[in-house]
């Protein structure tokens, strides 16, 4: 077997996976839950510094969700 798990040599997915620095990615704002049921809530939780039209960032966000679930599964939370 050649390097990095692929049987046919270079695998671009490995490079993609390694370059996805999702741990250091800016986090989305958590919706504030203070106040009562009728309090005004901000619906836009997206981080303004992130360019969501960039496909790589969209992929990273999806990956982050799965990674968080995986980590919680490992810790026995899920």
């Amino acid at each position: 077997m050649s390097m990095y798990g692929s049987t046919r040599g270079y695998n671009p997915g490995v490079t993609m996976y390694k370059n996805m620095d999702i741990e250091n990615m800016p986090k989305d704002k958590q919706p504030s839950s203070d106040g009562g049921l009728l309090s005004r809530k901000s619906m836009n939780t997206m981080n303004k510094n992130m360019n969501y039209s960039n496909p790589a960032i969209r992929v990273a966000k999806q990956m982050e969700v799965i990674r968080n679930f995986r980590n919680s599964m490992k810790n026995g939370d899920a």
């Binding site: 077997m1 390097m3 990095y4 798990g5 692929s6 049987t7 695998n11 671009p12 997915g13 490995v14 993609m16 996976y17 390694k18 996805m20 496909p55 790589a56 969209r58 992929v59 990273a60 999806q62 990956m63 799965i66 990674r67 679930f69 995986r70 599964m73 490992k74």
Partner: protein
């Protein structure tokens, strides 16, 4: 009795230029993809990978020792061949596919090989071994073995027995 010959060369591969013999646009990957953006591609793979039969087969393949990166690459390439998405979208969504595969492997309790780390990381390089062996050979050539043996023979072999009551020469 006819014997199965396994050393025959494989001559059933495509001949050069065979890929150009089909009508342009006849292949699925030559027509516009079914899913044009990354979100649609991810949705497609998420729904497909959530199917039970897929999960069972995936766990079997992981248990066989196939690396996650190679499985993910095969999955996205088959999508390209079916004309579901372009190869660019396929490569873009590969981290999500890999993450999903690893999550399914974790959920099934399979010890899988991710294929992300370099398997030769902690191994000694063969080039380094060759270099050390060459230097060792050079040093051996420099040493005159005959002289070294003679010096050793000249040394008197004196053995002193220990103890207060031992006989002395």
């Amino acid at each position: 009795m006819a014997m199965l010959e396994t050393n025959e060369p494989m001559l059933d591969g495509p001949i050069p230029g065979e890929s150009l013999t089909a009508e342009l646009g006849a292949r699925p990957w030559q027509s516009p993809p079914q899913y044009a953006n990354v979100d649609d591609v991810i949705d497609y793979y998420m729904s497909r990978m959530s199917q039970e039969d897929f999960m069972v087969q995936l766990v079997d393949v992981l248990e066989m020792g196939a690396p996650v990166s190679a499985i993910a690459n095969s999955i996205q390439l088959s999508g390209v061949m079916q004309g579901l998405h372009t190869i660019d979208s396929g490569i873009l969504v590969m981290p999500v596919i890999m993450e999903m595969i690893m999550m399914l492997g974790d959920a099934a309790g399979v010890k899988y090989e991710s294929g992300i780390d370099n398997p030769n990381k902690n191994k000694t390089r063969t080039s380094l071994l060759a270099k050390v062996a060459m230097e060792y050979d050079k040093k051996l050539e420099e040493v005159d073995i005959k002289e070294a043996v003679e010096e050793k023979e000249e040394e008197p072999d004196v053995q002193y027995s220990s103890g207060l009551m031992a006989r002395r020469k």
